[in-house]
């Protein structure tokens, strides 16, 4: 292929197909370079200035998020955020979306999403300890969607299982809006010895830039640009933009990087993974953050395809590659170290002081631009926003369910794919490798112990995009608080958040309003419970034929459990234990699974969330767990009290006998700020004295697998085994 000349690029506006606008191109050529950028340079700007790399559309909104607390060691701007957990240890975590690649090539798209997020963690010097994921698809009704689901799940398992990290939590949900634009968000949590923390910087004149890991091919070129565009019927097959993963190489790379930082911290000055926009993004960010310049020689880059040009090498998103900045005197030590792991490691460049980004290829200087112009000079967009018409139209709508049969409604709800057990999926993920998993998938949060200490880390991924669609602000708050309730129910103290902000096209004012308002909601909730947002990513342009997905912020929350004796699960433990619901139940049916079941869609506004009450309930539950008063604890969410009771009973095949002041319909209300707990009867007085606030003692756990329920309307006796089968088998049946 002959490269177009700088003049051709300008005249034929080639830059547009790479994602640059006319005004952005003019800014580069007229103000920054004061000349026309050549082919390679235009490519570099186009990926670095994509939304995926630059956050040019979302920066303004992202600034609203709190990112400080007494625990924060590193926040947004690094590969991942870091929180102090005492004893010179810290947790490192981040979530990232891989939506577009997964739509095109689901197995590799999902697999490389997992691989990428793992690299973000070990590039901080941390040992990855667990994985989570949040997946959203269209309804499980046609072969295409089932294939997509199967392949995404297989890709996630294929990568995580092979590299040997437990997948301990996640969520899978199904809505029409994700049919052609599935969401695949992956999160990784790591453990760091505080002294091992490495910044992703390249500093110090004449220090060396080392490339480590897999060879560079033509895969994933323009992946970041692709991720910043929308799908249509005619524009959805950019296979070349999808990367291919190799978890075996990543395992070697992970072990090597963790070991070199732990054993030889003086050898490594800075380290960063090559993720989106590969070589250019990693090296330019490292230099820009340090206030340095760089000279790279691409002839040294390990290549697995022939005749690659500079543009292709710089933009390739080949997986399993890292960049290190080292002192020249340790060059042989470092290269030998990686050679022992049978990994490619070569010097590809040098740090300079002139803040220029220079690239040589086959003896020719193919790029010479200010490094900061790639990372700092991106125009920031303040997009117009407007409240979506549906919100104005449906503001006063209130869904009032009619329950003909409590038992039938209950059983049908347990079969809904969004509520039914997800074991069919998570069973294919190794959740126990490393022998530290205290709570496996299926409870409220996954829990990993820290070997050699009494501590454990609780973690969860949460989102309910239906709520965010109905009211972005309240929906954003709910996403955070539901995640927090999951952490609290597991015995933890919520300490921090990462997020994936999945939305439609930000150039649509209604979409931008959704983004802005939901981020405000998330921020207010995070501030209330002191959980800073320390990392995350933004995925915009999730549209198909101009129809946007629901606004879908995914909250990844991490909690600290200071003593593993506090670890609590959602399963009822013993017959005779008393069952309580903590928190008042109201008629919250807008956006509920019940509304979906009865009307086939969702509609109406959400009630404001009382953050003070929410926090109070979380604090009280934490105190009760701390005082060892709690046998089981479960957050109430989709499907309300009925579903929570069922799930708590299923694990140990127990039943319950309850009587409540609630109506039959209210058994399915999705009022926030509630927990379902069971306690030993002997702890009744102490528990009620502590809780003080709104609670209702419902009844007790029974040995027979029978649900005996008396509501304000009726009494029903349900067969627990039948209910359990509905819940357990629904997904497997649908996937056939």
């Amino acid at each position: 292929m002959t490269e177009p000349t700088a003049k051709q690029i300008k005249d034929e506006k080639n830059y547009q197909q790479w994602g640059l606008t006319d005004s952005e191109y003019d800014l580069i050529s007229q103000k920054i370079l004061k000349r026309l950028p050549n082919y390679t340079e235009t490519g570099l700007y186009s990926v670095m200035w994509s939304e995926h790399c630059s956050y040019k559309n979302s920066k303004k909104v992202l600034r609203k998020m709190p990112n400080k607390s007494s625990r924060v060691i590193a926040g947004p701007g690094e590969d991942a955020g870091i929180l102090d957990i005492g004893d010179d240890q810290a947790v490192v975590f981040k979530a990232e979306s891989h939506n577009h690649p997964s739509a095109v090539e689901p197995y590799q798209g999902a697999a490389t999403g997992v691989g990428g997020i793992i690299r973000d963690i070990f590039s901080m010097g941390a040992q990855p300890i667990a994985l989570l994921n949040s997946l959203k698809f269209g309804p499980l009704k046609d072969g295409k969607t089932k294939h997509l689901v199967d392949e995404v799940v297989a890709g996630i398992g294929g990568y995580g299982n092979c590299i040997g990290l437990p997948t301990v939590g996640g969520e899978v949900s199904f809505e029409d809006c994700y049919e052609n634009n599935p969401l695949v968000n992956a999160m990784c949590v790591g453990l760091l010895n505080k002294t091992a923390f490495k910044h992703g910087t390249a500093s110090g004149d004449k220090n060396l830039i080392v490339y480590v890991g897999a060879k560079t091919g033509r895969d994933g070129i323009h992946g970041a640009t692709f991720a910043s565009d929308e799908f249509t019927d005619t524009k959805n097959k950019q296979r070349s933009a999808v990367q291919v993963g190799n978890p075996f190489i990543e395992k070697l790379l992970m072990d090597a990087c963790v070991e070199i930082i732990e054993k030889h911290p003086e050898w490594v000055l800075g380290i960063q993974d090559m993720g989106a926009a590969g070589l250019v993004s990693s090296t330019a960010e490292m230099a820009s953050k340090a206030g340095s310049g760089l000279v790279l020689n691409l002839d040294n880059v390990p290549q697995r395809e022939t005749e690659m040009n500079a543009y292709e090498m710089m933009l390739s998103e080949s997986q399993e590659r890292m960049v290190l900045c080292i002192k020249p005197e340790y060059k042989d030590d470092v290269l030998d170290f990686f050679k022992d792991y049978e990994l490619d490691a070569v010097v590809i460049g040098q740090v300079t002081t002139d803040k220029q980004y220079k690239i040589y290829h086959q003896g020719e200087l193919v790029t010479d631009i200010p490094v900061d112009s790639l990372t700092e000079d991106v125009p920031e967009y303040d997009r117009p926003e407007v409240e979506p018409q549906r919100m104005i139209d449906d503001r006063d709508y209130k869904f009032v369910p009619e329950i003909d049969s409590l038992e039938e409604t209950w059983n049908n709800l347990l079969k809904q794919p969004n509520i039914a057990s997800k074991k069919h999926f998570y069973q294919t993920y190794d959740s126990q490798v490393k022998a530290n998993t205290l709570v496996k998938p299926g409870s409220d949060a996954g829990v990993i112990r820290i070997r050699g200490t009494k501590k454990a880390i609780a973690m969860t991924n949460d989102s309910n995009s239906k709520y965010v669609y109905l009211n972005p602000y309240v929906g954003g708050q709910i996403a955070v608080m539901e995640a927090a309730r999951n952490i609290v129910a597991a015995g933890g103290e919520p300490i921090g958040v990462t997020d994936c902000l999945n939305y439609g096209n930000p150039e649509n004012p209604e979409v931008y309003w959704e983004l802005d308002k939901s981020v405000e909601g998330i921020s207010s909730a995070c501030e209330k419970i002191d959980t800073p947002v320390i990392s995350g990513n933004v995925s915009l342009y999730n549209e198909y034929n101009d129809v946007a997905i629901y606004p879908s912020p995914m909250i990844g929350m991490v909690g600290l459990i200071d003593d593993i004796d506090k670890v609590t699960t959602s399963a009822f433990k013993e017959a005779g234990d008393l069952i309580y619901v903590v928190g008042e139940t109201a008629d919250d049916f807008n956006g509920s699974e019940l509304q979906m079941q009865q009307t086939g869609s969702i509609k109406g506004d959400l009630r404001p969330l009382d953050l003070t009450e929410e926090k109070l309930h979380q604090d009280l539950i934490r105190m009760a767990i701390g005082q060892k008063l709690i046998q089981s604890c479960h957050d109430l969410s989709e499907g309300g009290l009925a579903v929570a009771l069922s799930e708590s009973a299923f694990d140990n095949s127990l039943g319950f006998d309850i009587k409540t002041k609630l109506t039959s319909a209210q058994m399915f209300s999705e009022t926030q700020s509630r927990f379902l707990v069971s306690i030993k009867e002997s702890d009744k007085d102490e528990f009620e004295k502590l809780i003080k606030t709104d609670f209702e003692c419902l009844g007790y756990v029974t040995q027979e697998h029978i649900f005996k329920v008396t509501t304000a309307d009726e009494t029903v006796l349900m067969d627990g085994k039948k209910a359990a089968n509905n819940w357990k088998e629904a997904i497997s049946c649908l996937m056939k």
């Binding site: 294929g158 395992k251 126990q432 022998a435």
Partner: protein, 224 residues
């Protein structure tokens, strides 16, 4: 007793096994690199689970060419203790030290869950702390764990009491629900379930502990 945990590129349960020996039964243990050519000084060799060489070609197929494998074969032939778990089991069948083969699970999906095993033979170096027919809870995590052998081999396994563990139900399509077998001499055991993940109650089960204690018991008797 001193154990070697052999570490191949891509092994990922090596540390789990290491901790099971060090903290679970409090015996000596060392990680041994796949390039080592001698296992002198060790009393038993443990081959961990994982995806050696990414399971490329076929599970265990590349690992058998690593330098340390000659020493594993020597250990097996000299009657010393050799235990292969999961990918370790696959390597042992690939080497021919154990009969049969491990193929794709019946439903071809990876399965991770804690299953019930039945102890079929409690008179081996690996099971003398269990009772015959004792039911134990041990996690599995594999995509290629379906034990396969022909009828003649199965008859031999039965005749020689080489079937050590069976699943209590059809978990992955294994012939005769076999979860673990030994060689004829009963010093080499391969099993798909992970006893090293079941050595602490807080992890869900400590039923795996007795397997490692059995090895110590056996070694004490041999040494005396």
């Amino acid at each position: 007793m001193k154990f070697a945990v052999v570490n191949f590129p891509g092994s990922n349960c090596d540390m789990d096994l290491y901790y099971a020996i060090r903290d679970g039964i409090k015996e000596e243990v060392e990680l041994v690199d796949y390039r080592e050519t001698s296992l002198d000084g060790f009393d038993g060799v443990l081959i961990p689970g994982g995806f050696s060489y990414g399971d490329y070609l076929r599970s265990g197929a590349i690992a058998v060419h690593a330098p340390v494998v000659k020493e594993i074969v020597r250990f097996a032939n000299e009657g010393k203790i050799v235990l292969g778990i999961c990918n370790g089991f696959q390597i042992l069948t690939e080497l021919g030290l154990l009969p049969g083969a491990l193929i794709r699970n019946e439903k071809s999906r990876f399965i991770c869950e804690t299953v019930t095993l039945k102890v079929i033979n409690d008179k081996t170096a690996f099971t003398n702390c269990y009772q015959e027919n004792e039911e134990i809870r041990i996690p599995i995590a594999h995509g290629e764990g379906r034990y396969y052998c022909d009828d003649k081999t199965l008859a031999e396994l039965k005749a020689n009491d080489q079937i050590i563990f069976k699943y209590d139900r059809n978990v992955n399509g294994s012939v005769d629900q076999i979860a673990g077998v030994t060689n004829k001499q009963k010093n080499v055991l391969g099993m798909m379930p992970h006893p090293e993940r079941a050595i602490e109650d807080i992890l869900g089960s400590d039923d795996g502990l007795k397997l490692f204690q059995s090895i110590i018991n056996y070694q004490v008797r041999v040494n005396n």
